[in-house]
């Protein structure tokens, strides 16, 4: 079966030619690349990729099909998916259907057969930028497609939490005996994050992005969790305000990814957009306290300002850049030194990715146990 022609068009006018993959049609979004060699199902269902056209640098995608266990949320979130070679027939004992069926079911427009490496090099050089995928009948003259791409929304300044968050609060019960209750602000939370907490005896009360301190307190939460999620953290004023109130109360707080940026802002730091971001599952992060390296899963286009190991004063006492990326020195973690709050820019829940940083969930537990020295 021949596939329809397709094009991936960038706002700077560059075009990559390939074939339709998934649903035929068009999509717009920020073009970003991820270098993970495994875990496309987790990536596609990660809400942090909302409004992004994800380029997989791994050349074969779909080999293990689509299963019923590995979704990180209820749906596929990417705006579009660009791959070099999709599998014809998946092979894995857990696979239920081909990847392409999953894409098609959810109406995700993708493109296959493009030179993902040339595209990645372009994004590396010129930065993540707006783009679009156009396939089949949606293919149009070059200028028209570029115009449509340029009319799309930019990621800088985008407030997207509201688009991915849960409509109503829900509970993920603790496994084994319940030891703590955590109020988790859903800014795009992943299934694995809740699972990592519930496995430690935490009942996770997931709240919509607009939740207030009163709602948090009403749960009798032992701690507050700020999740990962899409968009520009500079727009997350409401969540920053909530974080400040939580810090003020001395409630233990843990943030991941977008949550790290919110904590950073609450501590008086600004955030900025990285040229092309960190997206992969091989990224070394150095713990400033021990000097040890964790290989981490990452997925962020924005970062908190700061220097490796830097200590700084905040409204809540002294804080520290606790982790940084070994590749480029970008801030990867923050910790208040006198109050029980910390966050990391990377993904200790992994999925997809290595489990090196999983002990951070234990640290959260220890803080809730009142052990500030943990």
């Amino acid at each position: 079966m021949a596939r329809a022609a397709a094009a991936l068009v960038l706002e700077d006018g560059r075009v990559f030619g390939g074939e339709a993959f998934g649903r035929e049609g068009s999509c717009l979004g920020e073009v970003v690349f991820t270098t993970g060699m495994t875990g496309y199902q987790e990536t596609l269902t990660d809400p942090s990729y909302h409004r992004q056209i994800v380029v997989a640098t791994a050349p074969h995608i779909g080999n293990t099909g689509w299963n019923d266990e590995d979704n990180e949320s209820q749906r596929i979130w990417v705006a579009g998916y660009a791959v070099r070679e999709p599998a014809r027939a998946p092979s894995n004992w857990r696979s239920r259907r081909p990847l392409e069926d999953a894409l098609d079911r959810e109406g995700v427009v993708g493109i296959a057969g493009i030179d993902t490496r040339s595209l990645t090099r372009h994004v590396r050089q010129f930065g993540a930028m707006r783009g679009g995928v156009f396939s089949g009948a949606a293919l149009a003259p070059h200028t028209e497609m570029v115009a449509r791409v340029r009319a799309g929304r930019a990621m800088a300044g985008a407030d997207l939490s509201g688009e991915v968050t849960t409509g109503a609060p829900y509970v993920v019960p603790a496994q084994g005996g319940k030891r703590f209750t955590v109020a988790a602000l859903d800014l795009g939370i992943k299934t694995s994050t809740s699972r990592m907490m519930t496995a430690r005896g935490i009942e996770v009360q997931v709240l919509p992005a607009a939740a207030t301190l009163e709602e948090v307190l009403a749960l009798g939460a032992d701690g507050v969790f700020l999740s990962n999620g899409p968009g520009d953290p500079a727009t997350a004023d409401a969540q920053v305000a909530l974080a400040e109130q939580v810090l003020d109360r001395g409630l233990p707080l843990f943030g991941i990814c977008f949550g790290n940026q919110i904590l950073g802002r609450a501590l008086g730091r600004r955030t900025y957009k990285l040229r092309y971001g960190h997206r992969g599952i091989n990224i070394p992060v150095i713990d400033a306290a021990t000097g040890r390296v964790s290989i981490t899963a990452q997925n962020h286009g924005f970062a908190v300002e700061g220097e490796p190991g830097e200590e700084f004063a905040t409204a809540f006492g002294r804080a520290k850049v606790s982790h940084h990326c070994a590749n480029d020195g970008v801030v990867e973690g923050l910790r208040l030194l006198e109050r029980p709050a910390f966050s990391v820019q990377y993904h200790p829940e992994a999925a997809a990715g290595p489990h090196d940083a999983a002990p951070l969930f234990d640290l959260f537990v220890q803080l809730m146990e009142g052990d500030m020295n943990a």
Binding site: F16, T38, P59, N67, S118, I281, V293, H355
Partner: protein
């Protein structure tokens, strides 16, 4: 913590000769280690008996000991050098075993030498199967269930608790005797009972079978601060049951979800920590059940391995280099990633391409060996290819093999196969199994059927299935348009394969011109460890066909320095191995030094040449005309190509010379016409006649009648061989008409264009090998080597001595005159290797090869003259006089005029017979002949021939027999020498046994000899070897019946038992001399640097 300051001098142990299972990957890793340590200001001493390695080049260590890698000799080195530390994790199992032995003997503590890189306990935990299983269980992992059973009841109990099939391994039997897999209750009863009776301790190990499970490997590294990274995952296409060295493997893993992969990663790290490999690399193998995902840990290597070399080349992450840095105290995050230049080594490489490794076998050399693939490694080499898809990489890897099958459909299907027979063939691993998969699918098998038969994951099978669909498209397309051509190329098809599918295109040249006309050319991508996330500084490239019009090629422009492209030698095989890589690497170093940009093309992941540090640019590409031409094109587009070097990589690049020249590519050095002249027997005969050089009379024939006429004319015995062959392939000495007829009948591919060469065989002649340099006018004799075995044993399999011990000045001068005449007559610019035979005072020319030879590194090390460097300079215009002025060559004299005080160097071949068994389980007869069979070589160097030879034998066998019993079985013509040998052996204290005929002869000469019965069978011989403490077997009895091919059970028993054996009388004389000298005075060790400075 940065580098340790207390370690100032490190002893590195290499891996010794190239053998099956331990090849030049350890030259690569050892060379990297030496480079790194010296760059850190550490004094490096090195022990390695293999002269063909780069690491034993005097410039790579401060003190280079080409000595046997035995605890005794390494102790002598330690005593002489007094290193602070010993690094043994980069020299394979040989180095690791030696380190353990040195520890156990107390040598390390006696001299205060610290073992770095892995401690003894960690090595033991990794290698002791039971302890390792316990560790895996302790960290929550699974291993195949097993139990040691002493009765059938215990066997039945185990099987009732687990399931069939099970593996049965009797304890303490030889060569896996009695081992096997029981699929049914009947088989279990039969095999376990047999196993219990075969086992001397009546014990069998019954183990859950993981045969057919998916097989994976992880390469991990750990630093002393417990930072761990996984460098690479490797998936074996051949499932469990075929040794990973014999499997087609893929990186990264293709059929794991992230969940499964991370579980494997977690387990790998947990095992690594529990075993306690403190710093360095290790390799862990896993099996995964295809239907349940159950994962078991199979084994680990607490050291750098063959897979580490593959992983390094596949990812660009230099495991050995980093292991060396970790060993001296660095942390992973303190080490820079060379390729990005900015990021640290504490990360995990990510690939945006696919790597396929295919093993290369040599069963044609061992026709009686069982060619079925098992858990015992049998391949002699491998090739690696990269592509932007699995099929592209697979296609390139298959054509990198340089075997008759160069990718799908390049050879005819075997006759008379049916779908059923093909599926049956798939049940066992064999060379070319993926070709069989393709045939099965083409014959109509479903993916499920092929999966059931072979255990190969359906994803790979579907990929091959897609090739069959593509094949049909290519065959049936009305016109081969750009889009289809591009898809075919993207699926890894060569121009040759496409030509075979499109008869109107006739040959690959027509496909190529069509392709170029349509603009279908490969892009060249970069191996950068990071999938393009960071800019790469290191130009390490591979070709790929992209479909996207926006696809970019990444070969950077470089117009300042002229480029020289060096063609490597491809996968190791018998006859073409590491020696040629050595020469290529030397050319890269020499030409870089004088201002050229060096560009290496090779596909062998084990080698130093495919290290991104060796040349200015590196291409991992098949060494086929098509692929080389595209590299040349890419380099010409990006700068000025001075030319291509074809004479250093062996027959592979030499075979491309003519076509490259015809395509307008400048071929450096000896012109292709001269190469043709040397290879075409008729033309070469005329050259010899014109130059007045004697050669054995010969003729060429295309039929038995023709061959008989020639043989009658020139007289028996004759040497017969197909024309244009490598490593003496198909070469035989024929003594009479009947065997000549039998040879011609067996040689099926005789045709007018492939005649048989019939040469007069010079019986009992001394064979001489010469490596020489010629700049077109002047000739430099690198070395004149005298063989120990007589003519008739392939030069690659015979021991040779430099300087020649029995040649007189006149004979050496005759060799010089002939060499000079031939070099000039052929028009050699560069290296020339000539084989001579000396008989009755006449020096006959046997053959000449205008290229680097296997002996170039040996000669270079024995004489301290870098012949390959000099040759590469000559190819770019330097004269011998220039090189003498520069000091590259000695100011006066050459390798034929060595000073009297020069050391004696002996090169000895290392043979792989013990690796093979017949399908019936018997050993292979280790006879030497005109067809080369050795996989590697060692060098012994000392003041006297006896000591040098003794060292060479120790390096091969691990020890020289000094006591015990010796068995003599001599050919009639060897008996007169035999009496002398027997007396000397008796005098040395050996108990002399002999075969019946030999014993009778010795008795007549007054020696009381115990008789060993002929025809006793291998098993009885093996038992006698143990009972009578037989430490040496001298069996030349085949000389009595040279036409009878059947093996001697005495010899095969010696091979199976690992007892030193000699099959020629000259070898026997040399061995006895070596034993005499070694018992008179203990051999000393001396660094190459000291030998070279002392003369």
């Amino acid at each position: 913590m940065p580098k340790r300051t207390d370690v100032k001098h490190i002893l590195v142990i290499g891996s010794g000769p190239i053998v099956i299972g331990q090849a030049c990957e350890f030259d690569y890793s050892g060379t990297q280690a030496c480079r790194v340590l010296r760059a850190e200001g550490i004094r490096v001493s090195l022990v390695n008996s293999n002269p063909a390695t780069i690491m034993t080049d005097p410039e790579f260590a401060d003190a280079t000991y080409i000595e046997p890698i035995t605890p005794e000799f390494v102790e002598k080195v330690i005593e002489a050098e007094r290193p602070d530390a010993l690094l043994a994790t980069l020299g394979g199992q040989t180095a690791l075993n030696t380190a353990v032995a040195l520890h156990e003997r107390g040598v390390l503590s006696k001299y205060g030498v610290e073992l770095i890189g892995a401690d003894i306990e960690a090595i033991r935990r990794g290698e002791d199967r039971q302890r390792f299983k316990d560790i895996v269980r302790a960290v929550g992992g699974e291993v195949p269930e097993s139990a040691v059973c002493r009765s059938m009841d215990e066997v039945r109990t185990f099987v009732s608790e687990h399931a069939l099939p099970v593996v049965i391994r009797p304890s303490f039997t030889m060569g896996g005797l009695g081992s096997g897999m029981a699929h049914t209750a009947e088989e279990l009863e039969r095999m376990a009972a047999l196993g219990l009776s075969e086992s001397p301790v009546h014990e069998v190990l019954i183990e859950e079978s993981v045969l057919g499970w998916k097989e994976y490997e992880l390469e991990l590294m750990r630093d002393h601060q417990d930072n761990v990274v996984v460098v690479c995952s490797i998936e074996n296409i051949d499932p469990m049951g075929v040794h990973t060295g014999d499997s087609v493997t893929v990186a990264p893993a293709m059929t794991l979800t992230d969940r499964e992969y991370q579980r494997m990663r977690d387990m790998g790290i947990a095992v690594l920590r529990a075993v306690g490999v403190d710093t360095g690399g290790c390799n862990i193998q896993f099996a995964v059940h295809p239907e349940t995902g159950r994962m078991v840990v199979i084994e680990m290597n607490p050291r750098v391995s063959r897979s580490s070399a593959l992983a390094s080349k596949a990812t660009g992450f230099p495991i050995a280099k980093i292991a060396a840095k970790l060993a001296i105290g660095y942390r992973l995050d303190e080490i820079r990633n060379d390729i990005t230049g900015e990021t640290p080594a504490s990360f995990e490489p990510t690939l945006d391409y696919v790597v396929v490794k295919v093993p290369r076998f040599a069963f044609e050399k061992f026709p009686t060996a069982d060619a079925g693939l098992t858990t015992t490694m049998k391949s002699v080499g491998e090739a690696m290819a990269m592509g932007r898809s699995f099929l592209e990489a697979l296609g390139k890897a298959l054509r990198s093999m340089e075997t008759p099958g160069a990718g799908m459909w390049t050879g005819p299907d075997p006759e008379g196969t049916t779908l059923a027979s093909t599926l049956q063939a798939l049940r066992t691993g064999h060379d070319g199994r993926l070709y069989t998969v393709e045939r099965a699918l083409r014959q109509g098998a479903t993916v499920r059927q092929v999966h059931e038969a072979s255990g190969i994951d359906p994803w790979f099978l579907d990929q091959i299935g897609s090739l069959i669909e593509l094949r049909a498209e290519v065959i049936h397309a009305p016109v081969l348009d750009a889009a289809l051509l591009r898809r075919a190329k993207g699926a890894g098809l060569s121009d040759r394969q496409i030509a075979l599918l499109r008869p109107e295109l006739a040959d690959e040249d027509r496909v190529r011109s069509l392709r170029h006309r349509l603009g279908v050319r490969p892009t060249f991508k970069t191996v950068d460890t990071c999938a393009a996330e960071f800019p790469a500084r290191t130009p390490y490239h591979y070709s790929a066909y992209e479909f996207d019009p926006a696809a970019e090629s990444e070969v950077a422009a470089q117009r300042q320095r002229p480029k020289v492209i060096i063609l490597g030698s491809g996968p190791n095989r018998i006859g073409q191995g590491i020696e040629f890589d050595y020469s290529c690497v030397h050319a890269a170093m020499a030409l870089h030094e004088v201002g050229y940009e060096t560009v290496m093309v090779n596909c062998n992941p084990e080698t130093v040449s495919t290290d991104y540090d060796t040349s200015d640019r590196l291409y991992i590409e098949p060494l086929t005309f098509e692929d080389v031409l595209e590299v040349v094109h890419a380099e010409q587009v990006s700068g000025t190509v001075a030319g291509v070097i074809v004479q250093l990589g062996g027959q592979t690049p030499l075979g491309l010379a003519r076509r490259l020249a015809d395509a307008g590519v400048p071929v450096l050095g000896t012109p292709p016409t001269a190469i043709d002249l040397a290879e075409d027997r008729g033309a070469f005969g005329e050259v010899l006649a014109t130059a007045g050089l004697p050669a054995p009379p010969y003729g060429t024939a295309t039929s038995f009648a023709g061959a008989k006429r020639i043989a009658d004319d020139i007289g028996y015995p004759v040497l017969v061989r197909p024309s244009y062959v490598l490593g003496g392939r198909g070469m035989e000495v024929v003594h009479d008409e009947a065997s000549l007829e039998s040879y011609i009948n067996r040689a099926t591919d005789i045709a007018p264009e492939h005649p048989v060469l019939v040469d007069r065989f010079l019986d009992n002649a001394i064979e001489i090998d010469v490596d020489a340099l010629c700049d077109g006018r002047e000739v430099y004799l690198g070395g004149v080597m005298e063989h120990i075995e007589r003519a008739g044993v392939h030069s690659g399999d015979s021991a040779c001595v430099l300087p020649p011990p029995t040649l007189g000045r006149q004979e050496v001068e005759a060799v010089r005159r002939s060499t000079e005449a031939l070099a000039r007559a052929l028009g050699v610019h560069g290296l020339l290797n000539i084989q001579y035979a000396l008989k009755d005072g006449v020096v006959y020319v046997l053959e000449a090869n205008p290229r680097a030879s296997r002996t170039v590194p040996f000669v270079s090390k024995a004489t301290a003259v870098p012949l390959a460097k000099a040759a590469s300079r000559i190819m770019l215009g330097a004269t011998l006089a220039d090189l003498r002025d520069e000091g590259v060559l000695p100011a006066t004299g050459d390798g034929a005029t060595l000073p009297a005080r020069s050391p004696v160097a002996v090169k000895e071949a290392v043979l792989p017979f013990h690796r093979f068994r017949t399908p019936e389980g018997r050993g292979i007869d280790p006879l030497l002949g005109p067809e080369m069979k050795s996989t590697g070589e060692v060098m012994g160097i000392d003041i006297t021939l006896g000591h040098a030879y003794a060292k060479s034998q120790i390096a091969v066998h691990g020890a020289l027999p000094m006591k015990g019993s010796v068995v003599l079985a001599l050919a009639d013509r060897d008996e007169s020498l035999g009496i002398l040998l027997a007396e000397r052996l008796a005098g040395l204290g050996f108990h002399v046994l002999a075969a019946q005929g030999t014993a009778a002869f010795l008795r007549r000469n007054g020696m009381d000899i115990t008789v060993v019965q002929d025809g006793d069978g291998e098993g009885q011989h093996a038992r006698r070897i143990q009972e009578d403490d037989i430490t040496l077997v001298i069996d030349t009895s085949h000389g009595n019946h040279p036409e009878r091919a059947e093996g001697s059970e005495l010899r095969t028993a010696a091979v199976s038992r690992g007892v030193p054996y000699v099959t020629t009388i000259q070898g026997a004389v040399a061995v006895v001399r070596g034993i005499e000298e070694a018992s008179a005075t203990e051999p000393e060790v001396r660094a190459l640097q000291d030998w070279h400075h002392s003369h």
